[in-house]
Structure formats: structure tokens, C-alpha cells
């Protein structure tokens, strides 16, 4: 089971939920399962079978475009869906010169990919607490 955090923009499509669940071994399978459960999401998430340009998907707080894209193994980590936003210009209209986000960036360093496979790459605990409100005063570190 993979927990998926849904941004406000997409909540109508999932009956108003902040967080939903879906199943699959990699990100593609999880998102396809999600789209089966909530068919209204399908056209928002996919363009011709690939991740839509203005959707960012994060696994354990890391953008899957800098991991293995839709083929990234989920490993029990939660997913966060977010609209593509730039600092200082959230949701600026596409007409001002936006273009497609490039999918499928390959991590350049094999060493780092290996570290991630060994499970040495850390994931950020506070981003894993998807729905729990952050009320405690203790500082989170990761």
C-alpha cells in the first residue's frame, strides 16, 4: 500500500480527500491504480501514457524525475503529488512562456544510485508523516 498526498487542486477528483491509498510496485503502477480508483484523475496525471508535464510526483520527498521516473520502485514510501510551481511564481499562467517539464532525467552519478539502492540514502521523516498535523514543538531532522 502506498499513501498518496493529494494537492488541493486535485481533491475534487478524489472526493475531497487530502490523502488516499493505492497499490503497485513502482510509481507507474501506483498511479495507474490510483487512476482506476478515481477515473477523473487519469487525464490530469497522464499524457500519452507518461507523467503529465505539470504534475510533480515525489517519493519520500524526492522528485521521481530525478530518480527512475515512473519506473521508480516505491518501497513503501509515500508519494506526494504537487502542481509544477516555480519559486515566486506559483501557478503563473502557461501563456507566459511555460514549457513541458522534461521527463526522465537520469541521475548522473552511479555512486549515488548505488547508495540509494543500498538504502543508505535517507528519507525525510517529516515529509513521510503525510497527514499528521505538525503540532509538536520538537525539531524534526533528517
Amino acid at each position: 500500500m502506498t499513501a498518496i498526498r493529494i494537492p488541493p487542486t486535485l481533491r475534487t477528483e478524489v472526493g475531497g480527500e487530502r490523502q488516499v491509498e493505492a497499490y503497485g510496485g513502482n510509481v507507474r503502477e501506483v498511479l495507474e491504480d490510483l487512476a482506476r480508483r478515481y477515473p477523473a484523475l487519469e487525464p490530469q496525471l497522464f499524457e500519452a501514457g507518461e507523467l503529465a508535464s505539470f504534475v510533480n510526483v515525489y517519493l519520500g520527498g524526492e522528485d521521481i524525475r530525478t530518480l527512475d521516473g515512473l519506473d521508480t520502485t516505491v518501497d513503501g514510501l509515500p508519494l506526494i503529488l504537487l502542481p509544477a510551481m516555480a519559486g515566486g511564481a506559483p501557478g503563473a499562467p502557461a501563456a507566459i512562456g511555460s514549457r513541458r517539464a522534461e521527463p526522465g532525467s537520469a541521475a548522473r552519478s552511479r555512486r549515488w544510485t548505488a547508495l540509494r539502492r543500498e538504502g543508505r540514502a535517507e528519507h525525510c521523516p517529516s515529509l513521510l508523516r503525510l497527514s499528521a498535523p505538525r503540532r509538536e514543538s520538537g525539531r524534526t531532522r533528517c
Partner: protein, 310 residues
């Protein structure tokens, strides 16, 4: 050797790199490039100077031409300095809820302010600026999100300075906003250190700043090529603020919100390595955030969620 400068503009760049041995102890050395030491206190001095000088060189700017830029922060202040010294009147379009320091600083530097609806955030400022520019062609809008002089300033400046100062760089960490710092600095560092990992620290937006009608309203700045990033990591506001307080405690460095996010990611990536050098770019200092209410907030996320902080 001490020298004199002919103008504040020649003091843009050449910022110091300082080791963060207390904040990030261990076998991996972490260095911070202190962009808060630029003349107006942020990395955007490099971008503003480069965009205006590129436009001058291309013959797009004649003396007295009016400049217009949507900005809720650092870029506006930097443009205000450059515009003042070069004799261009500047108008900044900024959201009505921008912090008082920013508004005051822009006015003191001589910029005219036009307010866009606060609830539309920077998005509203961009939209209004575009409308104004369309209605009146006498405006010149540098537009940092789509201006190649932005990444070039970091290729020629930030990146070249780091490559000159260090014999080895394994990881570069910078905040993701327009993408200018990451694209330009990353490209220059790859020339000197081909295996360098270019890592983006990205703000996890609060619920209230994601009020897009649909994902199709999303925005990827034209100068940002995500395929050139090796890592792209979300950082919550809570983590950013915790890290910037810790950085102040440990090193005496008072960083801005994005600086907190960047050192947070730098330390995390340093822990993934056995040895090496991590360089992080701290875009500004914390002074312009003093009036924000997150410093004493019991719940940092809630107090920060209505604004995009970088």
C-alpha cells in the same frame, strides 16, 4: 590587498565561501557561499545586473526607459539598485501581502510599487505585470523566469567563483526558484568537476499557495531544464526554519528561509557520502524575514503556509 571600487555594481559577486564544520561535522566538508554579502543582500544582485547589462548590450534599453518587473522580493530590490545607478525608473508589481521590509526597501531604493491581489500570490503579480506590459509597450520587462542572462550570471559568476576556490566539488545544492542558480552554476561546475551532483532544494508549498484551478495552470520557468538536475528534494517550511536557526547557533550565519532549506539538504546529502565536498549557495540573509511571524510560532507550518518563501 585593499582596493577601491568605482561603483557598488562592481562589488556584485565574489562572495565568500565558508566551511560549515560545526553545522555539518564529519568526513564530508560542506561549504556555504554567502550570497547575502552582495550589495543589496541577496544573490539577485548578480541576476539584476546581468539582465540589465545584457539588454543594454543588445540595444534593447535606451537611457530613461521604464523598467517593470513582477517580484515579491529580492529581485525587485536588486533591480532597484541597478536601475537607480544606471538611471532607469523601475516599477515593481508585488502582492499586497509582501512583507513590510520589502515594500520599504523597494521604496527607499526609489522603485514605484504597484500592488496585485495578495491572495493571488506572486502569480497575480506576474499576471498584472504582463497585462501592464501588453497595454503599454514603453515598459521594458527583464522577466527573470525567461531571461537567459539569469543562468548566465551564475555560469560566469557563482559557478566560476566556486570552481576557482575549490579543488574538488562533489555536490552543489541551491534553492529552486527560477532555476537560474542551479542551471548556470551547475553547468559551470560540470565543466570543472564532471561528476558533480547538482541538487535542488525545493519548497513544499503550503496548502493556501496551491490555489491553482487545475494542474494545467502549473508553471515551469522557461530557463529551468529539470533534466539537468540530479536530485530534487522537497523541504518543508518547518525544516527550513529549524535548519536556519541551527545554522545561526552553530556558525553564526543568519540565513534566509531558502538558505535554511539549502543547508538542510546539503547536510542530508553529505551524510550519504563517505567523503568529498558539498557546496551550498545561500541566496540571502535573514534580515528581510524578521517581521515574519514564524520565529516564535508554535506551529511553523501553519504560520508560513500562506506565502511562498522563495
Amino acid at each position: 590587498m585593499l582596493t577601491t571600487a568605482d561603483s557598488l555594481l562592481s562589488l556584485v559577486g565574489n562572495t565568500p565561501l565558508v566551511e560549515l564544520s560545526r553545522f555539518a561535522p564529519g568526513p564530508v566538508r560542506v561549504y556555504a557561499k554567502l550570497e547575502g554579502q552582495n550589495p543589496t543582500g541577496s544573490i539577485k544582485d548578480r541576476v539584476a545586473k546581468a539582465m540589465i547589462e545584457a539588454a543594454e548590450a543588445a540595444g534593447e534599453l535606451e537611457p530613461g526607459r521604464r523598467l517593470l518587473e513582477p517580484t515579491s522580493g529580492n529581485t525587485g530590490i536588486s533591480l532597484a539598485l541597478v536601475a537607480k545607478l544606471k538611471g532607469y525608473p523601475l516599477t515593481c508589481v508585488l502582492p499586497a501581502n509582501a512583507t513590510e521590509e520589502r515594500r520599504r526597501l523597494l521604496q527607499l531604493y526609489g522603485a514605484e510599487l504597484v500592488e496585485s491581489p495578495g491572495e493571488e500570490g506572486s502569480n497575480g503579480a506576474v499576471r498584472l505585470a504582463l497585462e501592464l506590459a501588453e497595454r503599454d509597450s514603453s515598459w521594458f520587462m527583464p522577466f527573470q523566469y525567461g531571461n537567459d542572462a539569469n543562468p548566465r550570471a551564475h555560469y560566469d559568476g557563482t559557478g566560476a567563483e566556486i570552481a576557482e576556490a575549490l579543488q574538488r566539488v562533489d555536490v552543489l545544492v541551491a534553492g529552486l526558484g527560477t532555476g537560474g542558480t542551479l542551471m548556470g552554476t551547475g553547468e559551470r561546475l560540470r565543466e570543472s568537476f564532471p561528476d558533480v551532483v547538482v541538487a535542488a532544494a525545493e519548497p513544499l508549498p503550503g496548502e493556501h499557495v496551491m490555489g491553482l484551478r487545475s494542474l494545467a495552470d502549473g508553471y515551469v520557468p522557461p530557463i529551468l531544464d529539470v533534466s539537468k538536475l540530479d536530485r530534487k528534494l522537497l523541504v518543508s517550511n518547518e525544516e527550513s526554519v529549524a535548519a536556519l536557526r541551527e545554522l545561526l547557533d552553530a556558525e553564526g550565519i543568519f540565513g534566509g528561509v531558502s538558505a535554511g532549506a539549502v543547508v538542510h539538504v546539503a547536510r542530508r546529502l553529505a551524510r550519504e557520502l563517505d567523503d568529498g565536498v558539498v557546496v551550498c549557495v545561500l541566496a540571502d540573509a535573514g534580515w528581510k524575514y524578521l517581521s515574519a511571524d514564524f520565529w516564535d510560532a508554535a506551529d511553523v507550518e501553519t504560520s508560513m503556509e500562506r506565502t511562498v518563501w522563495w
